[in-house]
């Protein structure tokens, strides 16, 4: 738009200037030609004037001779001078009149001498007069030429005036045409310019208002550092931020730095200096001590921009009051510490729960074994042996007669034999239960040790046969399966040994078997069955525990492994959660599938051949 207006103005200027310039240039050319002509004729005219003057001297001398009777030498010399001048003039190629005059005067000069008498002069009078007329004519001719030049100059001046007037008229006409042609266009453009300018001004005012509101709302002060720090400008919000009155406080680098906390002053100054020197963005944080002694935390963000006027760098930035944020961060830090402690305590509680849960599982087996042992001891035939010993002590003196003659003595050997057999049987039963008890106690110890390892060390992986692990787990739950009428079926494929932490796997399997038993236990089905299937899968080993119990509702599938989720009446929601975590720790995974309530469920434990912590061992 500005470029178009400038073009229009330039065109108008040309319309004004061009006609006048053409006229003036043409007139200058004519003047130059006229001046050249004058310059050329000037020496000729001088020569002609000199010839005329000399000839007049001669004729005056001739006139005087009428009175004196003789012609003076000066007159004769003047005549010859005139003849020479006229010849020179004729030699310059002047008009035919010059040549004629030259001929006449030269002939006179050749005739007339100092000795020429008055009578001779009188006889030459006609030629003298002719010469006078001819020389006069030459002068007149030059005069006419000069007059012509002058008249021409005058006429030219008049023409020039008329031409300029004409040019002005043309200019005026062109200007009027131009203005009429462009007025509407210019008007539209000017109006468009004005509209754009108004819109920009409105936008600027809006931006300014928004900026003011935003900076005030954000408690942000705006500043500029100019002329290498010599000049500093603060916005009103900056004054408010620093609690310095805008009317009396003159911001400079020195007064600004004086408001900054002494411990942060050097950092703030270095940040500004570096940004100005390297033209790099400024990000700084410091404290400001207000006049009332309160401390305000400031975050300063700035960038270097080049001044559009003097092309010098200026630092433009904002100061943000981040006191609330800093305080919030401090509160958050303290909260984090509290949360960490709480989390730690929660972890400890989880470990304790885990321990209790797993130990509780094992304690069930321990309890069963202990009851069986106690039952065995309670029902032991050892009391009968005590009666036999007392009877034998009573007949110690006649022991032979007693055994051979007494009716009770006769049955004693047979009774002792039967008692011996019974005791042997009881001993084996108790021994078996005690072995199981010992294993369970060992498992409890391992559980405790393993839970301790969550907080301290990891367990020790060992190379194990999967079938052995599954059998151990089955044996721990064998009594429960029998008591609740659950049929157990095992389907073991030939799988390689795996390197895992035994008790982690055992813990998972015990939980899966116990859950399967429980699902069957609460199921109304009479055909309660649990199937354990071991197979190779995806480069590792998979142990699947399937039951035909109550199944799992679809909405529970996603939270079945969550901590605290349980469907058992007295459950804790920890077994599957800890099992999934343990499987993941070993580089494996624990999955569940169920077709829905009443359709049973299958829990699958995938284990790698080598757990991650042993992969590079």
């Amino acid at each position: 738009m500005k470029r178009a207006t400038d073009k229009l103005i330039a065109l108008q200027f040309l319309a004004v200037v061009l006609p006048i310039a053409v006229v003036l240039l043409a007139q200058m050319a004519v003047d130059a030609r006229r001046a050249a002509a004058l310059e050329h004729s000037r020496p000729l005219r001088i020569l002609a004037d000199e010839a005329r003057a000399s000839y007049k001297t001669f004729t005056n001398g001739a006139a005087d001779a009428v009175d004196t009777g003789t012609l003076g030498a000066q007159s004769v010399e003047a005549l010859r001078t005139a003849a020479a001048r006229l010849k020179a003039l004729a030699d310059r190629g002047e008009s035919a009149g010059v040549a004629e005059a030259s001929d006449v005067v030269q002939s006179l000069a050749a005739t007339i001498t100092r000795d020429t008498t008055l009578d001779a002069l009188m006889s030459l009078r006609a030629r003298i007069v002719q010469g006078d007329n001819l020389t006069q004519a030459i002068g007149d001719d030059f005069e006419r030429r000069d007059e012509f030049v002058v008249r021409d100059a005058i006429a030219s001046g008049i023409i020039q005036k008329r031409a300029v007037a004409g040019a002005l008229l043309v200019t005026a006409v062109l200007s009027v045409i131009f203005v009429l042609a462009t007025r509407r266009r210019l008007k539209a453009r000017v109006e468009a310019d004005i509209a754009v300018e108004r819109r920009r001004r409105a936008e600027l005012e809006t931006i300014s208002v928004r900026f003011g509101v935003a900076t005030r709302a954000a408690r942000a002060g705006v500043y500029e550092v100019m002329r290498d720090g010599i000049e500093v400008w603060w916005s009103d919000t900056m004054h408010e931020l620093y609690s310095q009155p805008a009317q009396s406080f003159q911001p400079t680098m020195a007064t600004w730095l004086a408001l900054i906390h002494p411990d942060d002053r050097q950092i703030a100054q270095a940040a500004i200096t570096t940004a100005m020197r390297e033209h790099s963005p400024l990000r700084s944080q410091y404290r400001v001590v207000r006049p009332d002694g309160s401390v305000c935390h400031i975050a300063s963000l700035a960038a270097v921009a080049m001044d559009s006027i003097d092309a010098r760098p200026r630092l433009v930035g904002i100061d943000l009051d981040i006191s609330e944020r800093v305080e919030a961060e401090e509160r958050e830090r303290k909260l984090q510490l509290q949360l960490r402690d709480a989390s730690r305590q929660a972890g400890m509680a989880e470990i304790a729960t885990n321990v209790l849960h797993n130990v509780g599982n094992v304690l069930n087996s321990v309890n069963v074994s202990a009851k069986l042992v106690a039952e065995g001891v309670r029902k032991s035939k050892a009391a009968g042996l005590e009666k036999v010993v007392a009877l034998l002590k009573q007949h110690e003196a006649d022991l032979g007669a007693f055994v051979s003659t007494d009716s009770r003595g006769k049955h004693l050997p047979g009774y002792l034999g039967e008692l011996s057999e019974q005791l042997k049987l009881d001993q084996r039963t108790i021994q078996r239960e005690l072995d199981a008890l010992c294993k369970n106690v060992d498992h409890i110890k391992e559980i405790v040790a393993m839970q301790q390892s969550y907080a301290k060390l990891v367990g020790v992986p060992e190379k194990l046969a999967v079938a052995s692990l599954v059998n151990d787990a089955l044996r721990m739950n064998a009594g429960a399966f029998t008591r609740h009428g659950v049929t157990l079926r095992c389907d073991f494929e030939d799988v390689p040994e795996i390197i895992v932490e035994k008790h982690k796997v055992l813990q998972i399997l015990v939980n899966l078997l116990r859950n399967a038993k429980y699902a069957c236990e609460i199921s109304p089905k009479s055909d309660r069955q649990v199937v354990v299937h071991v197979a190779k899968r995806n480069g590792g080993v998979q142990v699947a525990v399937s039951d035909n119990g109550v199944g799992i509702r679809p909405e529970d599938m996603t939270k079945i492994f969550s901590h605290g989720f349980t469907t058992k009446k007295n459950g804790h929601g920890f077994g599957l959660h800890s099992g999934a975590l343990a499987a993941r720790d070993m580089g494996g995974a624990l999955h569940v599938e169920s077709a829905g309530p009443g359709c049973g469920a299958t829990f699958t434990l995938d284990l790698p051949l080598r757990s991650p912590e042993t992969a590079y061992g």
């Binding site: 004729t59 005056n60 001739a62 006139a63 005087d64 001779a65 009428v66 009175d67 009578d119 002069l121 009188m122 006889s123 009078r125 006609a126 003298i128 007069v129 006078d132 007329n133 006069q136």
Partner: protein
Amino acid sequence: MQPKFRRWMVSLVLLAASSTAMADELYVVCHEGVSLDAADVRDVFLGEKQFLNTTRLIPVDNLAAQPAFLEKVLKMDAVRYTNSWVKKSFRYGINPPAAMANDAAVLEFIRHTPGGCGYLGTAPQNSINVVGKY
């Protein structure tokens, strides 16, 4: 001396010699529209005045009446009159008045020549512009 000028000079001498036989009245006449006073007449015939406004004045001598004209009007003799014109012709390149033989020739010239001036020894008719009587 050129023959023409010599004839003019001889005529003047002869006229001067016969001046006693001339009539007493002398009339200066001009072409229609030319008005001269006594001083103008003298200047015109001595070559001092050659123009009246834009009209070139052309004086002519009347050989028959010249002695009386020289005596009454120019107050000089024929030699002085001649020398004056010789000097004028040398100095200014002008020629002396043409010489007419008598009044009739003068009248004929005056009638047909604008700016023409002459003098008569006899009174002219009314149609002639008489500018002076001596």
